[in-house]
Symmetry: C2
């Protein structure tokens, strides 16, 4: 029946939101002052109008270049390659203070994501500037992430800069009994001397 | 940082959506064509602009009176009282073909919802028309729903119409072992002859 159904349908397109939850969200908004609904609507339009990928690093931004690329206190010699925007703030919080390249996903031939869909060109542009000492591959610890890291590594193999990857091993708070075999194999082969 | 944060904040105001999920939804939209974000925004504005409570039954509607109130095939003698709009389609699907009054919530003194916040007046208006034979109290089977049903029952006590309530008992697919004591007590005391 018109606009209510439209809203349920649009909510249900979001990941992890089924039709029941979409209806619950819609009824919730109807019970609030309509300013809440308008505020969400305006925030969505604001994002659609003003957020674009940064032409330097590929991260989502309102300004181009983005705040991270403009920050003069960051080390230009260090570039971290990540799959998605969401990883940038996570790595910043973990203490990384270099530059980023956001690929915009991982290789996934079955979903039609080939090498051309990733922004490796931004990394190559940056390497051509000659200031980069080290590229840190920080793709996700998944099969697709590993394949993507290997692909990026091959693309920049001739550049002569150091290429590193995030260490793999046991996560904090884990229990050996529940750690998967691949992680345990990594943790064993990369074991570190403590003496 | 501006519009992205605004959108995360607005998403996180929705029930059952925390800050992490709000970020995930925001990043999801950024990865879609911006038409998806605009469609959700437009659906929200449509609801804020055009959906109002029906002046006859209190259900949310784009037209006043609503489709249900305008439907000539429904029995004017039967009025079902529910807490929320969401119950209307549920009862329709269960085969109810009378009229509705949507109270707009249940009595909840701790949340500041007193008798005046509920649309009992709509039910009294309808009773004054003289066509109603029976009022079916279909509030939720919760403490607040029971209290609300009792309150409505007292308000219309002098009207002389029959007042009924949805039967309480065992839900289909339940296992006696996991049925709560209150339900089981209801099911026992309202047991029906099968001979």
């Amino acid at each position: 029946m018109g606009v209510l159904d439209d809203l349920v349908t649009e909510f249900a397109r979001l990941p992890g939101i089924g039709r029941k939850t979409a209806q619950r969200l819609t009824y919730h908004l109807l019970q609030q002052p309509s300013e809440r609904t308008r505020a969400l609507s305006a925030a969505l339009t604001g994002v659609a109008d003003r957020v674009r990928p940064c032409s330097t690093c590929g991260d989502f931004t309102e300004t181009d270049p983005c705040e991270t690329c403009k920050d003069p206190r960051r080390d230009d010699g260090l570039v971290c390659v990540v799959e998605e925007s969401s990883a940038v703030s996570v790595l910043d919080r973990a203490g990384f203070r270099g530059r980023y390249v956001v690929l915009g996903g991982h290789l996934s031939p079955l979903d039609g994501v080939g090498p051309d869909a990733l922004r490796v060109g931004l990394l190559e542009d940056r390497l051509r500037e000659g200031t980069v000492r080290e590229v840190v591959l920080a793709t996700n610890p998944s099969l697709e992430g590993e394949a993507t890291a290997t692909f990026v590594q091959q693309r920049i193999a001739g550049s002569g800069v150091r290429v590193s990857r995030l260490a793999r091993g046991l996560p904090m708070g884990g229990d050996l009994e529940f750690i998967d075999g691949v992680t345990l194999t990594h943790a064993l082969s990369a074991r570190q001397d403590v003496s």
